[in-house]
């Protein structure tokens, strides 16, 4: 059982090592000379007086939700694609088409509802 998962583990390990190296190496080698101005916010070269955080409008949240919704859909299509190729059964193909059709209806509803254009 472990044998079949070895490549995944090696791949994940390598990813973590290389990623970590890039992230931390900079901190280790880079010269560190903090000065009071460097830690302040950069606002086009002027001292910035923005104290409270800026609360984002509804439109940003709406677009983010829609993106997540339709992006996860694509993730589902990949394994199904492999399955259709392996089993070559029509039933799986029809099933996935129904899944996509459902999401198309959702997209048209959202589009007509006006959530896609920016306010």
């Amino acid at each position: 059982m472990l044998q079949s998962y070895l490549p995944v583990l090696v791949f994940a390990g390598l990813g973590i090592i290389v990623g970590g190296a890039f992230a931390l190496l900079n901190g280790v080698i880079g010269t560190r000379r903090p000065n009071p101005i460097k830690t302040q916010a950069y606002e086009c070269g002027l001292p910035s007086h923005i104290t409270r955080t800026f609360r984002f409008g509804v439109s940003f949240y709406m677009i983010a939700m829609l993106f997540i919704l339709f992006d996860i859909e694509v993730v589902f299509l990949y394994p199904v694609g492999v399955l259709v190729h392996a089993t070559k059964s029509v039933f799986v193909l029809v099933e996935i088409l129904v899944f996509v059709a459902l999401l198309l209806v959702a997209l048209v509803f959202v589009w007509r509802r006006g959530a896609l254009d920016w306010k």
Binding site: G30, T31, R32, R33, I37, Y42, G45, L46, P47
Partner: protein, 239 residues
């Protein structure tokens, strides 16, 4: 890594003891090991830093237009690895002061310079940022080095893009640890400065001798190790 004056002094004294052979035992190993670590790692880092300088989009005046034409295909600065112009000071290494720095803009320039991350360099492009240029008046700071350290001064108004590229190559050699020599070092003209003649009012040969002696003393103290090559540079200005 910029070295503070005291540590440099300390190193020089130890270098003198090393030369005279009265440094041994633990001091010797620690000194050699420290030199070994810094020189190779330092050289490798400097080589990387020199060949991937990220300039900052910081256009002030007419030199900014010539700076843009630096990036375009005819005078391509990408050949020297400096194509990625970053807008924010956080990701930029080189601040090219292209244009005249007015007194209202000086605090902004100083603030943006402070917000850049080390190691960082400054190139004063054009006569106006190097020395106030032709605008010797109330509104222009007479030279950016009045309020911030400047590494490279590129003359011209506006300097031709080739001149800026030459300045950029000089900066790369500076970063790589082999700073191009100023004309006084290159032609061993140290000690002929004017101030030596007028130190005591009227020109005296004695003042010149004292200056030359001071420089000779400085030269053997340095022992020719910390970067300033004794013999003329390998690339005789034709690099």
């Amino acid at each position: 890594m910029e070295v503070e004056r005291e540590t440099l002094r300390g190193r020089q004294l130890r270098a003198r003891d090393l030369l005279r052979g009265d440094l041994e035992g633990k001091d010797l190993e620690e000194y050699v090991e420290e030199r070994l670590l810094t020189t190779t790692l330092e050289k490798a880092l400097n080589w990387g830093r020199a060949n991937a300088v990220f300039p900052m989009t910081f256009g002030l005046a007419c030199c900014a237009i010539e700076q843009i034409s630096l990036v375009t295909s005819r005078y391509d600065i990408a050949r020297f690895g400096a194509e990625a112009f970053r807008a924010t000071p956080r990701q930029a290494d080189l601040l090219i002061l292209s244009g005249r720095v007015s007194i209202k803009m000086a605090p902004v320039v100083r603030r943006v310079y402070d917000q850049m991350l080390e190691p960082k360099w400054v190139m004063a492009m054009g006569a106006c940022s190097s020395s106030g240029g032709m605008f010797a008046n109330y509104a222009v700071v007479q030279g950016a080095d009045k309020f911030m350290p400047v590494d490279i001064h590129v003359p011209g108004c506006p300097p031709r893009p080739e001149a800026v590229l030459h300045g950029f190559n000089k900066l790369q050699r500076l970063v790589r640890g082999k700073p191009d020599l100023g004309w006084r070092q290159r032609y061993n003209a140290i000690g002929t400065e004017e101030w030596a003649r007028f130190e005591s009012g009227e020109p005296t040969t004695e003042a010149i001798d004292r200056a030359a002696q001071a420089v000779r003393e400085q030269r053997d103290m340095r022992g020719g190790s910390a970067g300033v090559a004794e013999e003329p540079p390998d690339s005789w200005g034709t690099s």
